[in-house]
Symmetry: C2
Subunit: 377 residues, 2 copies
DNA sequence: TGAACTTCGTTAGGAAGTTAACTAACGAAG
DNA sequence: CTTCGTTAGTTAACTTCCTAACGAAGTTCA
């Protein structure tokens, strides 16, 4: 019989822990959830009855009685994460313990196909509990947990194109792609074990994902970390202009600057940031200088962040931010201008956004289980 | 008999609520603490036994039986707040419900006297539970809850001069003065009812107090909001320098700029910011232009904050920041550069720092009661 | 093989909090 | 002055968790 009733509090807590670690014995669950053994036993029994957990083996710790191992059950369901990137659309379907169940990757124009493909690969019997869509845009603050749309026109059309492929009745969360990537760095990247840090992404544009106490900071307009609106240029006799910063520190500007100082004798001028970094890594001269200058610019951007937030750690990402050869220059400029702050390069790269969106979707999905599975509330 | 044992959890919750509202009936405590009537009755009995609460009257709500009103008891004790300001030292002693018990205000050089004076005026029988000292300096992160010192030499000597007057055995917390003032705006000023905002103080220096979810954001080095380290000047061909921003937007710069463009015919050049603002308020010309330019500069500073945090509300304070005639100019520049953000002037002024420090001290003091009065742990 | 040890899981009793129902106190209306 | 409606506070039964102790199921060593 299908028990759609709500879980007790302890069962919810145990389920949340079980989803986090994937599989565990009862004593492990007890210590992780901060509950006693009898309570965990009762909770596990309840979860097994609801098919939210299953006995998946035994574990012997050398000496003593061997413990029963439990994992997520068939009824725990799955979640979907969609990254509407500038070039490609990436989709992942995950179980609530984060294991990958389905994956799709298409050009941006075939976004809806990617979603359908991934949905088809998910187990049919169990509920899809949450969908997170990462967009390169400011998202309105999360009110009812669904029905959001990107705040400006930038990502609106793509989102609409995808949303027709989304199954009805499942809560959809929009999230900024930089925030998602920051979450990925937090859980499986360069910021593992941290509670507070900033993820500074520099590519065509610039963006900052802020994590404080393990939580993403979204801001009143969902625009926290939208560094493009930092006042720039800024001086006694210069008026800041909107968007001027991205035009100056973004990847387009980097290549333009390279082209300006490039000469015949230097060989062919690089047309991509990757090529430019490769030349610089070999010590080839105009490239090295351009990259060094870029590092200082990134350091200034980082200084603007530390002046406000003092996060203690900044993770650099993006097509022109993640290269480790930037690190010395960035650190030097940041040291010169601001507070002691660790600076490291992203460990995840392009897949960070989907990975983070999946983390977020898993968290939302677990919530729907523990807080009483309200699909239509 | 003195019961030094720990309170039950429900009694602690009830005490915290009682401290927040000052006095309340049992039904009020029940709804505010989210507890049931029987539990509150038991908790109140426990608190009365420990002299942490007393029956202080009855309240009739027109119809029905009249309820007993409870307030804080004699054993709840007091806390001390010290503001080591640039010119004056202000001290307040408060009960745990925030009522003022003692106050002192001396020139900075007699700081220790102010502390002794206020301490003498506090009730002798009950414990002093916490001391908060507000300094104009970066404070190291709060580890054991005491034993901190200002991070740089700026406020170190003053703090040492005061600390000799502090009674031993009482936990001392250092806090940045701008953070304190932000807390005052949150609880009794322009940000009442908000959960997230920024308090931008502009005087001789610039500083930002960040409140997120009702909590002050301190940062990894205790330097969150130290805007003086924003990169400035910043442009393609200018190198940012440390401290350059304060030299440009602080009150000294404001008066210097006024002096530069002032002419014989304009009358005597103002020597204080107050005087300059007064002239501007009358529409007198060179003053008005200087103030308008200052407003734009403040707007840019605010834009730098919103670009990172998007707080939704910015409260302006400080000797050259709180004047309401700045508001239109600040709002215009902020609108032009950044996200929709409310901008208002501080409602508290110079006393904000002590008031906020007192709030913080009360919160810490309540903690010592509810978490088991550990004075030396 | 069986005693000793260690770890797992259950059983029993108790602490802390909840809901529901009852008694107590107060004002107003007849 | 009594009665009724309303609100305060208490008592009782039940829920949910914890701690402590015990039985069950392994491993190790003689």
């Amino acid at each position: 019989m299908a028990e759609a009733s709500r879980l007790t509090e302890s069962a919810g807590a145990v389920f949340a822990v079980l989803a986090q670690v994937g599989s565990a014995t009862r004593p492990q669950l007890a210590s992780l959830a901060g509950l006693s053994k009898p309570t965990v036993s009762a909770a596990v029994a309840e979860l097994e009855g609801a098919r939210l957990a299953t006995h998946s083996g035994t574990s012997s710790s050398g000496t003593g009685r061997s413990a029963a191992v439990y994992g997520l059950g068939a009824a725990s369901g799955s979640v979907l994460a969609v990254d509407l990137g500038p070039a490609r659309t990436r989709v992942r379907g995950c179980a609530l313990d984060g294991t990958l169940l389905a994956e799709a990757d298409t050009p941006r124009t075939r976004a809806a196909d990617a979603v359908r493909e991934a949905l088809a690969a998910l187990p049919a019997g169990a509920p899809l509990r949450a969908i997170v869509v990462a967009v390169g845009d400011v998202t309105a603050p999360d009110r009812a947990g669904s029905g959001m749309r990107p705040a400006t026109a930038k990502a609106g059309p793509v989102f609409d194109a995808v949303s027709v492929a989304l199954p009805p009745g499942v809560p959809v969360h929009l999230e900024n792609n930089v925030n998602c990537a920051a979450l990925a760095e937090l859980h499986e990247g360069a910021a593992r074990g941290r509670r507070t840090f900033g993820y500074l992404r520099i590519g065509v544009g610039v963006g900052l994902g802020i994590v404080i106490g393990g939580q993403v900071l979204r801001g009143a307009n969902g625009a926290a970390g939208e560094l493009a609106r930092l006042p720039y240029p800024w001086d006694d006799d210069r008026e800041p202009r909107q968007e001027a910063l991205e035009a100056y520190v973004g990847s387009h500007a980097l290549l333009r600057r390279a082209a300006e100082i490039w000469r015949e004798a230097d060989g062919p001028c690089p047309r991509t940031a990757d090529r430019l970094f490769a030349l610089a890594a070999q010590g080839r001269e105009p490239a090295r200088a351009v990259v060094a200058r870029h590092a200082a610019d990134v350091g200034r951007l980082a200084a603007a962040v530390t002046a406000v937030l003092d996060p203690g750690l900044i993770v650099l990402g993006g097509s022109t931010g993640a290269d480790p050869q930037l690190l010395p220059g960035v650190r030097a400029e940041l040291d010169r201008l601001s507070w002691p702050t660790e600076v490291v390069s992203s460990q995840i790269g392009d897949l960070g956004t989907v990975a983070g969106a999946a983390r977020l979707a898993v968290a939302k999905g677990v919530q729907t289980v523990t807080e009483g599975a309200r699909v239509k509330d």
